[in-house]
Amino acid sequence: MNAVVTANGLTKRYKNAIALDQVHFEIQPGRIVGLIGPNGAGKTTALKAILGLTDFQGQLNVLGLDPRSQRNKLMEEVCFIADVAVLPRWIRVREAVDFVANVHPRFSRDKCQAFLSRTKLAPDMRVRQMSKGMIVQLHLALVMAIDAKLLVLDEPTLGLDILYRKQFYQSLLEEYFDDNKTIIVTTHQVEEIEHILTDLMFIRDGKIVLNTDMEALGERFAEVLVNADMAANARQLNPLDERQVFGKSIFLFDGVDHSRLQTLGEVRRPSVSDLFVATMKGTYA
């Protein structure tokens, strides 16, 4: 199958900083890709380039189209939730649904109404009267009713409480996502999306420093709980990271044979957040 997004030498320079530096990646259909990076690493710039919201150097192909020159056509197949609370404050629920229903060829009003009926949103309610969580519910209802091939989410749950956050990803996974759709998501709340991701990309200083699917991740990286007496042995294997818990050391290894690690102690699959912290060490230093 053709890749949904192909980037080749994607570069974006701002006046005094480089946001994306010769980035290469491919995103296949039917995947949920987490694009994770520290603040200012270039996540949002990458998404903006994909959405045709910014100019760039290099090659970028999204669903066979160039986001710079064919943006209007592209937006029929691509949806995005840029951030929480970017719906216009004056709009009413009824107006938002009417408007999208009439300008978007792939929007299903019935689906949208079904999503809305499960919320407390009333048709005459204005966005300015809603809580942050309700705005996201409305936005999500609008977006999930669009049969798009690619959904881009940029920090979609920032500032929401845990109930809304769980509900958000659950709805996406259960009622929206299927094999024909692709989701790219950036967030800082890595723990919460870890279990829904199929692919992981780490970005740092405008470069992709890790690009793997979740299965390969478990094979490549390992976390080992090592007793103090074995710690010296473990250090010889060049761990990515080491931290101390209750008198034991936890080491993180990249590409070391699992059978060898088992002689050191208990081997576990590292969490994405631990891996992230280890990979990004020294970013702000």
Partner: protein, 321 residues
């Protein structure tokens, strides 16, 4: 086409207050003020023992009967003007609404970042800008004309009823006025307004689309600063530059052409004499459309369209949200 229709509709959802309620309220205020005037006239009249209608000892009914044809024309013209004056006031309010609408049209949604929502939909930037232009110079003026006509008619009727208390038949006065001619004048002015307002709408929307902050300041400061520079050179050099030309043909056209009727100033210099009949002729479409014969309206419209194209470009590529 359907997208454009819904885009224009969206503008009305957002600006219902400015486009519909502002003219309606202005019209109502105008009527209330006139009513207060009539009532106070009547009250003062009866309190101080003279009749409002009595002129030279005659009452107003017999006075009207004694008027000759020329004087009747004068009365008709006065009624026409009274009817237009309501539209004049509403248009003034409307012009301010359009001015600030254009300044905010491509800026407000960048400031509150809701542009990201609009840009997540398959809508071209050209359609977006076009819908805002249509709302400003076509649909909003139609709303204004409707309000103005209704207010004008209501006012005529109000005067006629007031006079009927003094023995003047309602119809005898109303037939002297030319309400249909006035309605025709107002409706017919809309296309002319569209052309005339384009340079201001274009300039304001260009600033709205381009400015990172404070579009009002940029929109006003740039042309004024330029004008001051030119005037200053004008002072220094003896033959030099025509600064008055700049102020009138560039600055005024870039900032004040949203005020309706600006195209009438040519006609006003020549056509508006002391003769009452000339008032009726002046407020006619032939005077208005004579402006189409001048180059300035076309040059202005072309400049406006060019600036709108610039606004579309900035709307597409401005990357600050």
């Amino acid at each position: 086409m359907k997208t454009l229709y819904w885009l224009v509709k969206r503008e009305f959802w957002e600006h219902r207050g400015g486009f519909i309620w502002a003219p309606v309220i202005t019209g109502l205020v105008f009527l209330v003020l006139n009513l207060m005037g009539i009532v106070s006239g009547e009250v003062f009249g009866s309190r101080h023992g003279f009749h409002l209608g009595s002129l030279d000892g005659q009452d107003i009914a017999s006075k009207i009967q004694s008027l000759d044809v020329h004087q009747l024309q004068e009365v008709g013209a006065a009624l026409d003007l009274a009817m237009l004056s309501s539209s004049g006031l509403i248009s003034l309010v409307f012009a301010f609404v359009v001015f600030f609408y254009c300044l905010g049209a491509l800026y407000d949604d960048r400031r509150d970042r809701s542009i990201l929502f609009w840009k997540s939909l398959p809508i071209s930037d050209t359609s977006t800008v076009l819908s805002k232009v249509i709302a400003a110079v076509l649909i909003a003026p139609i709303a204004v004309v409707i309000c103005g006509v209704l207010t004008g008619i209501a006012m005529l009727i109000m005067f006629a009823i007031a006079l009927s208390f003094h023995g003047v038949s309602v119809w005898s006065l109303l037939v002297l006025a030319h309400p249909f001619q006035m309605i025709g004048f107002l409706v017919g002015s809309i296309p002319l307004y569209l052309l005339w307002a384009l340079p201001t709408v274009g300039w304001l929307m260009l600033c709205s689309s381009w400015a990172r902050t404070k579009p009002f300041l940029w929109a006003v400061v740039i042309p004024v600063a330029l004008g001051v520079m030119i005037s200053w050179f004008n002072l220094l050099s003896s033959d030099g530059f025509h600064s008055t030309w700049y102020w009138r043909e560039i600055l005024a056209r870039a900032l004040f052409s949203v005020f309706p009727g600006g195209w009438l100033h040519h006609g006003a210099e020549t056509g508006l004499g002391k003769d009452p009949a000339s008032i009726g002729q002046f407020f006619s479409l032939s005077t208005s459309y004579a402006a189409l014969g001048t180059a300035e309206i076309w040059i202005g419209a072309a400049a406006g369209i060019a600036m709108l194209a610039g606004a579309v470009w900035f709307r597409r590529w401005r990357d600050d949200s």
